[in-house]
């Protein structure tokens, strides 16, 4: 793992991976969504709105996966002082927030014709909304630390503390009565018919590849910004450059 701590080595790998991840993700996602719109039959209970799940479920998974990535990267930054971990955590925050917002919006749109309401304050929906606010807080905090100066350990601690919400989201439909259905996919088991499950898995893989490509692009942007600022600072102080 420490081999990737070298920004030059990381950049070589990231340059090679960013475009393939984005292109393969776009192709898989586009194919799965077209499949979901045109080829999947309406569900017996949900009717045509079952198609919304091909966006809603991957977005929910990536909203939670994004914060899990922030928490892991924060732990690595705090314990091992890995130089890229803080950058990885910051890069995962915006895509995580976007997918959480997409999950909430598409869930609300699905709820209106299915449940008869846009929103209910139950455990799953509320904990997902809390996740969105945690993302906003993290993005604001990390941005302020970068602008004003300060320890990068502060957003890392925030990232770790906020991770308590991820298992709450996951278990909310089991712990509390909810309009939201209990987990349909558990380890090794699925209650979903293969006619819906296969395009759902393809869409989830596609969106995940896009997420990976976006995180790499944002890490490259943050690294380039840091390197340019360091160079300008050295020049202002008239310090000879190493490279």
């Amino acid at each position: 793992m420490h081999g990737f701590a070298n920004p030059a080595r990381f950049l070589r790998i990231a340059r090679w991976l960013t475009v393939p991840l984005l292109v393969s993700g776009l192709l898989l996602t586009g194919g799965a969504l077209a499949w979901g719109l045109a080829a999947v039959p309406p569900d017996r209970l949900m009717g045509e709105t079952v198609r919304i799940l091909f966006i809603h479920v991957p977005a929910a998974w990536l909203g939670m996966a994004g914060w899990s990535a922030i928490a892991i990267a924060s732990l690595v930054e705090l314990v091992w002082r890995h130089p890229l971990a803080g950058i990885a955590a910051r890069a995962a925050a915006v895509p995580g927030a976007v997918f959480t917002a997409i999950c909430l919006a598409t869930g609300s749109i699905w709820g209106r014709p299915t449940w008869g309401t846009w929103w209910v304050w139950d455990g799953r929906l509320t904990s997902m909304l809390v996740l969105l606010f945690l993302y906003f807080g993290y993005i604001a905090l990390a941005g302020a630390i970068q602008r004003e100066g300060g320890s990068s350990r502060i957003p890392a601690i925030f990232g770790l503390v906020g991770a308590i919400n991820v298992p709450i989201i996951n278990r909310s439909v089991v712990w509390w009565n909810s309009l939201h259905q209990p987990p349909s996919i558990t380890v090794g088991k699925s209650a979903i018919d293969p006619v819906f499950l296969v395009p759902l898995l393809v869409a989830t893989i596609g969106f995940s590849l896009i997420f990976g490509g976006v995180v790499l692009a944002r890490m490259r942007a943050l690294l380039a910004q840091i390197q340019a600022e360091a160079r300008l600072r050295r020049r202002a102080l008239d310090v000879p450059e190493a490279a």
Binding site: I109, R220, L232
Partner: protein, 46 residues
């Protein structure tokens, strides 16, 4: 289906939000990356 709502309107609205949100995220991140890398190259050449 409740209240005679057209389910396809909801499906298309959800797809619109999902697709536009994802494409906007990709475009924003790509442009930010290219701009930052160009700026880094400029500081290298100066």
């Amino acid at each position: 289906m409740r209240e005679g709502l057209d389910q396809w309107t909801f499906v298309l609205a959800a797809y619109g939000i999902g697709v536009i949100g994802t494409l906007a995220l990709i475009a924003w991140s790509w442009i930010a990356m290219r701009t930052a890398e160009r700026r880094r190259e400029k500081t290298r050449r100066k």
